[in-house]
Subunit: 149 residues, 2 copies
Amino acid sequence: MTAKPGDDDAHLPDDLEAVVGFHIRLAHGAVYRHFTETFADLGLTQKQVSVLWLVESTPGIAQTGLAARLQMDRATTMAIVNRLQARGYLLRGKSRDDGRKQTLHLTDAGRAALAEARRAIEAHEAWLKSRYTPAEVRTLIELLSRLHG
Amino acid sequence: MTAKPGDDDAHLPDDLEAVVGFHIRLAHGAVYRHFTETFADLGLTQKQVSVLWLVESTPGIAQTGLAARLQMDRATTMAIVNRLQARGYLLRGKSRDDGRKQTLHLTDAGRAALAEARRAIEAHEAWLKSRYTPAEVRTLIELLSRLHG
DNA sequence: TATTGTTATACTCTATAACTATA
DNA sequence: TATAGTTATAGAGTATAACAATA
């Protein structure tokens, strides 16, 4: 059962290769795994970092604001904010403008965690961008933006 | 509390916009949601369809073969194959070459489900590709391929 | 009536660890 | 020793439904 030189254990059929959604899923998986490795020490996920990032850049943002920007369900947003609050990274407050809303702010620990996360993201992005020229990075971002935005 | 004309509830900070991994995650989420809607009747996930697809095009493939092609853990592969087997879409057999391996084959029900899935994927891919020219589709696939494969 | 937050619930993916059988 | 399958376990994201408080 020796593998022949030409064998490719990961070879995919041509018709599947032509499915764009398939490549997005595989690429996302690869990025997700590398992200998880890079953030193993910090113990933060992609979503959690995105939320910290947005709360810092938009202090007082409500959960619906996060949901709109990150394209999440209200319940999903709750779950993530709960985890970050449980770890002491952010605080919920009451909005004076609208009694239904809450205002989110980072704690000092949250700001420290985000600062560390930014450094980790730099390394992660470098790994990712090493495959592309600057022009290709711009093209990739532009093409991907048409799927959300 | 009326929204002003220029308001954009989903506006993102520029520094986050420049993070490639962030766009991959958002794009994947958008594709995932549309896929789920398209496949609501069939009740199949992306991973499950990919597995059915590969088993059909590579009859007798082992679970490790699926894992290598779809970049999955052994345990993850087990879980997915278990679900498909429980629904009667595929069968496990014993390999004659290697007693450790199993051979996977589609049942008639599995082939029928895959045929339906292919039609649903056509609609899903059309929704996805409507944003791009054929050349852009090729570029996107090529750029994404550098992250996995 | 509509929106926001909340809770409960469920499913899938993902991964680690440990075990068995086979190579 | 290494590989393939298996089981148990756990965490995270995703979503639906229903409810309370507020607009």
